[in-house]
């Protein structure tokens, strides 16, 4: 039973470019959340997708957008990259109908903006 998978594992981009990160949730999960983890910090909530809609959003600018597909996989898009966007981006999935279920995390995508 595959867990949460993220691609790519590492990415190097230049300021001003755009990036797309991908996530496949754990089998049986229908909710995907995205987090940004800067070096030495805790994960910061970006947004959550359920039934192909953004259900909740954290304190991130509109440059951060996402999408969820009918198979529950998800993408995170970041436009006009800034140096400060360099971080580990974590995708987490859960069973959306039960809000006490824990998140299952992928290993993340390490984004470096130069």
């Amino acid at each position: 039973d595959a867990g949460v998978t993220q691609s790519p594992t590492h990415l190097i981009k230049t300021r001003g470019q755009q990036v797309t990160l991908r996530c496949s949730p754990k089998s049986g999960h229908d909710t995907v959340s995205w987090y940004q983890q800067a070096l030495g910090q805790g994960p910061q909530f970006i947004f959550q997708y359920y039934e192909e809609e953004e259900r909740q959003r954290g304190n991130f600018p509109d440059r951060f957008s996402g999408h969820q597909f009918p198979n529950y996989s998800s993408e995170l898009n970041v436009n006009a990259l800034l140096l400060g966007d360099s971080a580990l981006y974590l995708c987490a999935s859960s069973g959306g109908a039960v809000n006490n279920s824990p998140l299952h995390f992928g290993n993340g995508t390490r984004l470096t903006v130069t």
């Binding site: 959340s33 805790g42 909740q56």
Partner: protein, 115 residues
């Protein structure tokens, strides 16, 4: 608004000794509380959760956590530390009663177990 505080950036313990990693939270209503562990260059792994019921919750790898409503705390504990427990630990909280509620994480505590 939800928030989580982990007051210690680092906890150092000798192998075989008991360990405690502290966490306090703030949330409207009843909380759902979680502990996660992160190893280098990996995602977070779920250790345990408190939803309701017994205040002492047992989880993976011999860890347990004690929920204290009056002190709004959820400290992680283990009776006898192992060197392999060395990692980064995160406490997290979600408000109950809303299916759309997000999980908020603390800043993390680095646990170092010396042989």
């Amino acid at each position: 608004a939800q928030s989580v505080a982990q007051p210690e950036d680092q906890v150092n313990v000798a192998e075989g000794n008991p360990l405690t990693v502290k966490c306090t939270y703030s949330v409207s209503g009843n909380p759902y509380l979680f502990w996660y562990v992160q190893y280098p260059n990996r995602g977070l792994q779920f250790l345990l959760k408190y939803i309701t019921g017994d205040n002492l919750v047992k989880g993976s790898y011999g860890f347990e956590a004690e929920f204290n409503k009056s002190q709004t705390s959820f400290h992680l504990k283990k009776p006898s530390a192992l060197v392999s427990d060395s990692a980064l630990y995160f406490c997290a909280v979600r408000a109950s009663g809303s299916s759309a509620s997000k999980i908020i994480f603390g800043s993390g505590t680095r646990l170092s177990i010396r042989p």
